[in-house]
Every structure is written in structure tokens, then in C-alpha cells.
Symmetry: C2
Subunit: 514 residues, 2 copies
């Protein structure tokens, strides 16, 4: 059970079929396998041994595809770098994971000097872009003339990669996933919502460093299907690629689906090849779903909920589920082979309908966090992955994600989920955006505190907003204090950085919550 097996199977069955498409470059399975075997030989020549990490700091491409396969070919572990991070964060992850060989494409060449300044342990830089080779870097295609080597066919419980996660939530952690983790989850996902299509083709436009992108990519590999790579998501390029290359499968987030259906020229493209749209990260609205179904008439929609630590699937909202409007706010049900529970703070299962932490057990649960045995033991206590997400489950097993556990506010003896308060606040016509956090309070331990950006020209007082909330939710959940700001601190991905909002309140406070 190892990740390169899919390539051998495809070569055996459809050697001369198209495997990868990137711009004008089209390669068959036979060609890809030959290139992977040579690239693997080159990596060995560069000193990569079994278990060593190989980094990829690049936009999507056919070379990203080859680099992943080549690393596994010789028993290595991939480290697909989060391209949205700062040089400092990237350097941290390269250093912590001791990544010495790094693929870099044109987009990230400018970052290299800063990376090396932060950590000089990267000894080999391989340029996987198409512009002239920068000084100090090896040519990817030069590497491809190395002699091919035999696939070592190592896998199963062996670490296949370190996938860094974190970003907005503090120090990044390296999630170690095995070949069996990723493969078992792929098989299970294929068995249900994400479906298996003969002659499938995935359009890879969401970033491949992210495990959602990588898992969708691997599902197509497992089925011996083909890939179209776009360096990044750009609506016009996606529509054009669909019409031209006729993919069956897209992996998107709802905001990308929105951008596609909003595109003025969408009617000019033939999108009829698309049979599956897999999305994640957030729910889809009824209105958007209706428009998307009109734009992609053959497509079944499937939502996946999970996290990197789960390789990454926990639940799926199947195409059939999408017919029921009430389920659209759900993240779906435990996928095949996966156990999902909602538990209280003592890890006891709570009754249906009660909010608690979502925990998961499956063959996809990570090996652990790289070099973090304590965090690993904490996250995997009792044999279950603790997602840190608060949610509830209905009588039919549908999971509704409510909030992040750490965004939960403990005020008095009550738990308040910030998302619930934010939903209430957002319904006030004067509110443009808002965030609800817990701040230290001598009486309540924590106090429900709202940070609000008003609509241009609108006015509202703290008392008005609190009164509005109390008309919708319980008094103890409604904000006791409100702070009006001009703008929210945002992450590169556009998420509100709650830790920035919390900092001034907690910096000089003893953690007052028991």
C-alpha cells in the first residue's frame, strides 16, 4: 500500500493515455512514469535517502505532480509548502522539518534569498519553473536526464509527507501522514460522495500544497484518471480550461464557485464535462447552489469536511444530500470507514443536538505532529483525533459545525459559541462585519465582547446591538461590551485574525478562566 502504485497501475492499463496537462505540455502515463523514475534517480543522486523530506514551494503544475511521485518512489516524505505564508513562516517549517532539497518555481524564486537567510540548511534548490534558471539553482529538466531508478515500493505505515498547518492559529505544526492514511481515505471517499468516474479528469486549480487539493489529486491517481493543472485559481482561466480539456471533476471552495458563476462570460463556455464538484472549507448557500447547478448541469455537488490531521476527510455531504435544502448548512455525515462523535470536555459522547467537540477515528488519522509528542498525545487522546471544532449531530448523523472550540467563550458557567453571537449581530442592518471574542472579566471569568465594523454612514450603540442580540439569542450569550473599529485585522486568506483582537485584552491579564 504505497502512493506510487497508482502510477504503475495506470502504466500497465493505459500507458499511452494522457496523464497530465499543463499549458501546452501534455504527457502520457508512460512518459510521466519514465520522468518520475529519472527524477527519483536524480533525488537519490542529490543525497535524498529513505525518510528524507523533499520540499515543494510552487504553484500547481505537472512538475509538482512529478516531484511528489518521485519523492515517494525512493521512500522520501514530501513537504508541500504553504505558498500563502511569509518567508519567515516558510523558513521555520523547512528548518523544523529539516528539508534540505527544495523545488521552487518562478513565482517563489524572489523569496529564496530571504529563506536562506533564515535557514541555510537547504542545500539543494531545484528550479521547477519555465523561465531561465536562476543562479545557484539546478535545472529540473537537467535532472530529468538522470538514469531511471526502480521504485522502492515502500509505504503503508511509512511517513509519506509532513503537511504544515496552523498559520492563523499560532505556531505551525507538521502533520505526519502515512501512505496508508492518504490511500485509505482516498478509497473511502471514492466509495461514496466523491464518486468514481471512468475516464475521470481533475482540474487542479485549488492549491496542491493543501491536503484537500492533494487528496482530490490522489483520488484521481488511484482511479488512473488524468489531470489538468492551473498554476492558481483564476475564474477566466478555469472556465477556458474546462471548455478546452473537459475535466470531469473540480475541487473548489464556495467562494471560487461564486466567482465562476459570477463571471460575465460564463455562458460562452461549454462546461458540460463536469460531473463532480467537490467543495469544502464552508457551506454552500441555496442560492449559490441553484446558480451553480444551472451552470454545471451534469454535476453532482459533494461537500467534504475534515482537516489535514484526518487525511483529510471526516464527513461528506453527498450529491443526494444536496437535494434537501435543510441539509445545505450541514457538513454531512461520517464517510465510509470513518467514525465521528460529538463529545463533552470529558470526552463523553453527548446526546444528539447538543454542541460539543467533533472527534474522529479512522484509518486516515495522522501518525502525529512532527517532533511534538505532547501535542500529538493531546490531539489523539483516547485514540480519537480532537478536531478543535465545536459541532452538533442530528438524529440522522448529520454534523453541523458551529465554531472552533477555542473560539468558545466560558462566561459564568455557560459556554457561548462566538459564531452564534456573530450570526445574531450580523443580522443588524448597521453591522458590516463583526467578531465576537472572550475577554477577561473579574465577575464572569470571561465576558462576551463584540468587535464591530459599521456599514458606511450607519450608526448604532452598544446598547442597541445588545438589545438586538437579546431578541434573537439568550441574554448570557449577547455581547456585554462592544468595540467599534474601522477595519478588522485579516489573514492573507481573508480570515479575521481573532488572536489580534484578543491580544490587547489578554496580554497583561492572568488567564482568569479555570
Amino acid at each position: 500500500m504505497y502512493l506510487t502504485q497508482s502510477l504503475h497501475r495506470a502504466v500497465q492499463q493505459t500507458p499511452d493515455s494522457v496523464a497530465t496537462i499543463f499549458g501546452d505540455r501534455v504527457r502520457t502515463f508512460r512518459e510521466v512514469a519514465d520522468r518520475v523514475a529519472r527524477l527519483a534517480g536524480a533525488l537519490q543522486g542529490l543525497g535524498v535517502a529513505e525518510g528524507d523530506r523533499v520540499g515543494v514551494l510552487a504553484l500547481n503544475s505537472d512538475r509538482f505532480h512529478e516531484a511528489l511521485y518521485a519523492t515517494w518512489w525512493i521512500g522520501g516524505a514530501v513537504n508541500p509548502v504553504n505558498i500563502r505564508w511569509s518567508a519567515k513562516e516558510i523558513a521555520y517549517s523547512l528548518k523544523e522539518s529539516e528539508t534540505r532539497v527544495l523545488f521552487v518555481d518562478d513565482a517563489f524564486v524572489p523569496l529564496v534569498p530571504q529563506l536562506l537567510a533564515e535557514w541555510d540548511g537547504v542545500t539543494t534548490l531545484v528550479h521547477c519553473g519555465d523561465r531561465p534558471i536562476p543562479a545557484g539553482m539546478l535545472s529540473y529538466e537537467l535532472i530529468a536526464v538522470y538514469e531511471p531508478v526502480e521504485d522502492l515500493r515502500l509505504g503503508a505505515e511509512r511517513m509519506a509527507g509532513i503537511f504544515y498547518t496552523g498559520g492563523t492559529t499560532g505556531y505551525p505544526k507538521g502533520v505526519m501522514l502515512s501512505h496508508a492514511n492518504i490511500l485509505t481515505t482516498s478509497y473511502a471517499g471514492l466509495a461514496t460522495a466523491q464518486g468514481s468516474l471512468p475516464n475521470g479528469r481533475t482540474l487542479n486549480s485549488a492549491p496542491m500544497f493543501h491536503l484537500a487539493g492533494l487528496a482530490a489529486w490522489n483520488q484521481q491517481n488511484v482511479m488512473a484518471g488524468s489531470h489538468v493543472f492551473l498554476s492558481a485559481f483564476e475564474p477566466a482561466a478555469v472556465l477556458k480550461a474546462i471548455a478546452e480539456h473537459r475535466p470531469t471533476t473540480l475541487l473548489l471552495v464556495p467562494v471560487m464557485i461564486q466567482m465562476l458563476v459570477d463571471h460575465l462570460a460564463i455562458g460562452e463556455y461549454d462546461l458540460s464535462s463536469v460531473q463532480r464538484i467537490i467543495y469544502g472549507a464552508s457551506a454552500i448557500s441555496e442560492a449559490l447552489l441553484q446558480r451553480a447547478m444551472k451552470a454545471f448541469p451534469q454535476a453532482g455537488f459533494a461537500q467534504g469536511y475534515g482537516m489535514t490531521e484526518l487525511s483529510p476527510v471526516a464527513t461528506q455531504l453527498t450529491p443526494e444530500d444536496h437535494r434537501d435544502q435543510a441539509l445545505l448548512r450541514s457538513a454531512g455525515r461520517a464517510a465510509v470507514g470513518i467514525e465521528v462523535r460529538i463529545v463533552d470536555l470529558e470526552d463523553k459522547e453527548v446526546p444528539r443536538g447538543t454542541v460539543g467537540e467533533i472527534v474522529v477515528r479512522s484509518a486516515g488519522v495522522m501518525l502525529g505532529y512532527w517532533k511534538k509528542p505532547e501535542e500529538t498525545a493531546e490531539a489523539l487522546r483516547g485514540g480519537w483525533m480532537h478536531t478543535g471544532d465545536a459541532g452538533r449531530m442530528d438524529d440522522n448523523g448529520y454534523v453541523f459545525v458551529v465554531d472552533r472550540i477555542k473560539d468558545m467563550i466560558v462566561t459564568g458557567a455557560e459556554n457561548v459559541y462566538s459564531a452564534e453571537v456573530e450570526n445574531a449581530l450580523a443580522q443588524h442592518s448597521a453591522v458590516a462585519s463583526c467578531a465576537v471574542i472572550g475577554v477577561p472579566d473579574p465577575e464572569w471569568g470571561e465576558r462576551v465582547h463584540a468587535v464591530v465594523v459599521l456599514q458606511p454612514g450607519a450608526t448604532a450603540t452598544a446598547g442597541e446591538l445588545r438589545g438586538h442580540c437579546k431578541s434573537l439569542i439568550a441574554g448570557y450569550k449577547s455581547p456585554r461590551t462592544v468595540e467599534f473599529v474601522e477595519a478588522m485585522p485579516l489573514s492573507a486568506a481573508g480570515k479575521i485574525l481573532k488572536r489580534e483582537l484578543r491580544r490587547p485584552y489578554w496580554e497583561n491579564a492572568e488567564r482568569a478562566v479555570s
Copy 2:
């Protein structure tokens, strides 16, 4: 990763849906889970500990279903007994596997005294039939009033069962399969040909003791689908059950499909619920496929080829493959996650089109043969399961099974596959049935020898038959000697017992083949 997880998931998501149907007995997932937990408690009470074997000697039923789950619930290993065997063979397998608790239904109660006479190690007999409880046996439903116990949730590499195989080929061997073996193969099978259908329902009419039946059953469990059980295959009962219970999925062998489409009253039944017909054991003819497609208009046909040692899938001929008439004689291509090769006697891969032994590597390959380390090492040498089947692979990876390796005749320096000679012989109008074997020959090492039953009233000489064969196949492959007999020795399953034909020739001969 353990086999009872499917039941927990179904209870979480669809507790009040129908899980099992057997005659008038209909049970929901909640009911089945409760009964399984109580039966598991009873088994523990009867002394079954983790790893212990629990035998089931019974026709298909809902209780067979419960007994399997209950055994796994407490970490036991099932031993589903081959109901076609003689009492002597059954006793041998019970004794060798040290099976002390045995479920027996009404059909096999008469066999019990003989079994106990052969081996008295069976200490507990549980009657899972519906007639009055025989003396010396416990009532199944009495057991069901035990207190429920918690699922131990043991699995992954743990042995889930010993599945005896052999019968016509000598001493039976106990194939040890793990939870991961069976589950991974189920997932992979679902990803491709055998498909995953929402709200699926399997009609179990092929015997569940056989791993093909058990695997199809588990695939439906994994999908949280339901089951209809028929004690055994009987065409009228099958047609009636399809019309009444509307299953989506059937597991059959081609001769069963033939019996269904030949049934005079087939037109009176509504068979439109059937979406998948999975078959194995032999190829389907174009003529039969056409008729079956007419009878089951919604059904996709999928062939599986494999063996118990592979949990059991190696290759699949998908519904799409069935559109190509030339592929109907193929066993299909390596299924998802499975590696298949054709190798020579030195285990080297042979060129496409060349006949060799079919070998397989996958997460489904057995743990080994029970108490047979040498046979295990021989079968799994080099990490590949040696199927003992001779076959060839075409340029697109389609496997064509030619013969059993041990039915291969080495004459002079040439390999002759008996199936090829038999196919040629059978085309002679005077031949009713035939078998080709190798017999000792001072000149050739082995000599191609045919045993023939003529059509009633027909005549033919050895010379005529040899001449006929030489017009179709190479001279060295054509029988040098022909023996005319009145009837063939047949196994209980209707297979020609070649070992009986060989015996008189080899009994007093030194094995003359180098």
C-alpha cells in the same frame, strides 16, 4: 479499521432503516446492533476470548449476519464452514482451526453426530435454525437475552477469520484474513466496478461461507446498505425476492444468471431494482450477457476474478468493459490499489501476451495459511501471492485466465495448458465432455493425454480426435493418447476431478518430470 465499524456507522445515520430481511423477519440497524451486542455477550459468556475461532455451519440467513458481527465484536475470528464439504472434511477444518463454538442451522443438524465423532473439541453448539432446538444444542434466541457488551473495536492487522479453501485440490488450507485485508479490498472494489449505490440492498443467495459472497456482503455493510438473505440459490425464490424486496445488487456465478434468464416465469417479475450484477468463477458468454441485459435492464455487469487468499479481488471487468465483446473472455484489469503481474517460473515478469503465472500484491493479500508457514512462504514468495493460475495480459492490462498452473503439462521442453487442448477437443461434434492431463512418458517426460466422454451414439477414434486438434492447435499440444470413458469423476460442485483421472497413471510412477 475493524469490520464492526460499519454497523456503528449505520446505527448513527439510519438507525430505523431496514438492515436485514430473512423470510418474514425484518430488522432495523438499531435492532441488529442490539442483538449483536447481546450475542457477543453470550459468546463471551460461553468462553470465547479474543482471537478464538467461532464456526458457522449454516445456509444464508440474518443469523449468519449477526453471528459474524458478534464474533468480531469481541475480537474473535470467524470460521464460515464450507457447506458443500463432507462431514470428514468439515471435522478436519474445525479440528485444525480449534473451533470450539459452532453455530449450526437446521440443514446441518443431521451432520452433528458425525462431526463430533470425528472431533469432540466442539464444546458448544448453538442452533441458529428455526425448527425445535435439538438435544445438546443451545438456542440462538436464548443467547439473545444476554446482556449486551461493548464492542472491543479490535481490528486492523488482527485475524478476522479463517476461510478454508481447497476441496478438489487436496488438503484444505485455512486462509487467515485480517480486518484490514477485507476492508481495504471492499473499499477498492467499491471505488470501481462494483460501484457504490446510495440506499443499496444486496440479495445474498450465493453462499456466504465463500469469500466472494462474504466480500459482497461486507461491501454493502460498508455502505450502510441492507440485505435480503435467501438460504440458498433457487431461481424462482430469487426472482420472487427481487420483485418483493427490490435489491440493487446481486452476486451470482454465470450458471446462476443462466438459470434465472432460463426461468419460464421470468417475465412475470419486476426486476427493475437491480443495478449491479457482480459475477465470478467463470466468464460470461455474449449470448448470455445479451439475454441477461434484457432481463435486468438497469443493471451494470461486473466480473471479479480473485481467490480467498486475496480477500478476494485481483481484477475486475467493469460494466464499461462489458460493452466490448472481445473483453468478455477476460477477467478484467487490476482493481484499484491492486498490483497484478504475469511471471515466469523464476518470478520474472513476462512480455505481454505470454502465458505465465498470475501473481498479485495488495493490501488484501492474506496474513497466511493457518499453521502452514512453509506453504505460506511458498505462496507469498517475493511478497506476491502466487495464484497458481496461468494467464496472459494484453497491452491494455486485461488479464485472460488460461488454466491452473498445476494443470499445465510439460512435454518435451514445451508447456501445454490443458484448457487450450480441451477447448479444441470440445469443438469435435462427437465429444460430450473431456479432460486433458499430463501422464508419465519415457520419451517426453509428460505426454498430453485426453480423457473423453462421447455423445450418446457418436463414435470417434483417437486418431480422428488428434487430427481434429492438430487442425486447430500445434501438434505438440494435441493429445498423443486418448482414453474413452462412460462418465467423468465429478466433485460435489460439478467440477471434473482431474486428480482422480491422473491417479492411476502416477501412482506407480516416479515423478519423471525434471
